[in-house]
């Protein structure tokens, strides 16, 4: 859940919640039907949405090896599930918490940044074609987070380790 909301429940022994804190909670609760509705649609449309993304991606990046495209699509599916969960729980940091520590490293290691950026763009287009601006507003913060994880960043040195194993090293 949204960490600020979650923190509301931490210390009942200290004091009762303030009116503005209860308001924040009510606001979240009243947004829930819309969130659940959107989550249901993301769930039921996952395969059709991502299949269209996959078809376009494969056309646009015909030169890329299929196993790299598959790898990126799997991570795209995963990212979309995290985005859906982040939206449902109103937790903008969720995508970051679950993906930040490993996704940039894997993108770097397999050199799939160009594919992943295109993929992200295609997923975004699919979503905005299917959902209202209000619904997109609920998804956007996490989509942006996911997008930012693809940007080049300071990370470890696993780059050379995909094709060769450490066994050959010694």
């Amino acid at each position: 859940m949204n960490p600020q909301l979650e923190a509301l429940f931490d210390e009942p022994e200290k004091r009762y919640l303030r009116p503005e804190e209860l308001n924040a909670l009510s606001q979240y609760v009243s947004s829930l039907p819309e969130r659940i509705n959107l989550y249901r649609r993301l769930r039921s449309e996952e395969i059709t949405l991502m299949q269209q993304v996959a078809d376009t991606l494969q056309q646009q990046m015909a030169g890329e090896p299929e196993d790299l495209l598959k790898r990126s699509l799997k991570n795209g599916l995963l990212a979309l599930r995290y985005v859906a969960m982040a939206m449902l729980t109103d937790d903008v940091d969720f995508v970051k918490k679950r993906m930040e520590s490993w996704l940039p490293g894997i993108v770097e290691a397999y050199g799939t940044r160009a594919i992943d950026e295109r993929l992200h763009q295609l997923i975004y287009e699919q979503l905005s074609g299917r959902f209202t601006p209000q619904q997109m507003a609920l998804l956007s913060p996490s989509l942006v987070t996911a997008r930012n994880l693809l940007a080049p960043q300071e990370i470890g040195t696993e780059a050379d380790l995909t094709s060769e194993t450490l066994v050959g090293l010694f």
Binding site: R81, K97, V167
Partner: protein, 218 residues
């Protein structure tokens, strides 16, 4: 064409198995802290680590580092087996089918989530046949074992047996820099024993990591 339904065939998209908000859980009413598979975890107080070292120092003197290293070797052997088991269960395939990048990233995440610090691999000396593991914020080196000497004997042991099993070679691991001596991180050099023979005495003399690496790669 790529079929999305096929990609989802086992209905699982492996992410970070060791994500800390999922990995650490427990049956707290029974006093059990557990990982996500239900294996028991322990919170290890810093004071206990300190007392183990001072207890060993009192009882065995100079042998403390050797004892700790031995413990690390045993720990590493079990750790490697359990780590591989957890990882292959999660990914639904043998560890050998994971790429090295995925495997090592899981190791880093595992390290971090257990509170053992931030582990990273330095491949600068890979062409010469050495692997350098750098660990920041290690809880295991916080207390000196012997004055002015690196204190990561336990970690040297675990890394040595972990990477020996991973690579199928008998590797040696020597610590060449230590946070407890003011270094920015702990560095552990892994390589074949005959190529690292000169390192322990260089470390004892207090030579810096880079200088030691210059000697062994000469």
């Amino acid at each position: 064409m790529i079929s999305i339904a096929d990609l989802l065939i086992d209905d699982r998209l492996p992410g970070n198995y060791f994500a800390n908000d999922v990995y650490v859980r427990g049956t707290l009413e029974l006093g059990l802290l557990e990982n996500r598979r239900g294996d028991r975890l322990l919170a290890l107080p810093d004071a206990l680590l300190k007392s183990i070292i001072s207890g060993l120092n009192n009882e065995t003197g100079q042998a403390t580092a050797l004892v700790l290293r031995n413990c690390g070797l045993w720990w590493g052997k079990n750790f490697y087996a359990r780590f591989c088991e957890e990882l292959s269960d999660y990914h639904g395939k043998p560890v050998a089918d994971l790429s090295m990048a995925e495997f090592l990233q899981a190791l880093q995440e595992c390290w971090r989530t257990h509170g053992w610090g931030v582990l990273s691999l330095n491949l600068d000396y890979q062409p010469q046949g050495f692997l350098v593991i750098e660990i920041q914020n290690s809880p295991f080196t916080a207390h000196a074992v012997q004055p002015n000497q690196p204190s990561g004997a336990l970690e040297s042991g675990i890394l040595q047996s972990f990477f020996s099993q991973l690579t199928g070679r008998e590797l040696t691991c020597v610590q060449t820099s230590c946070e407890s001596l003011g270094a920015d991180c702990n560095r552990f050099v892994l390589g074949l024993e005959n190529r690292l023979q000169s390192v322990p005495s260089l470390v004892q003399e207090g030579q810096p990591h880079e200088a030691i690496m210059r000697v062994v790669t000469r």
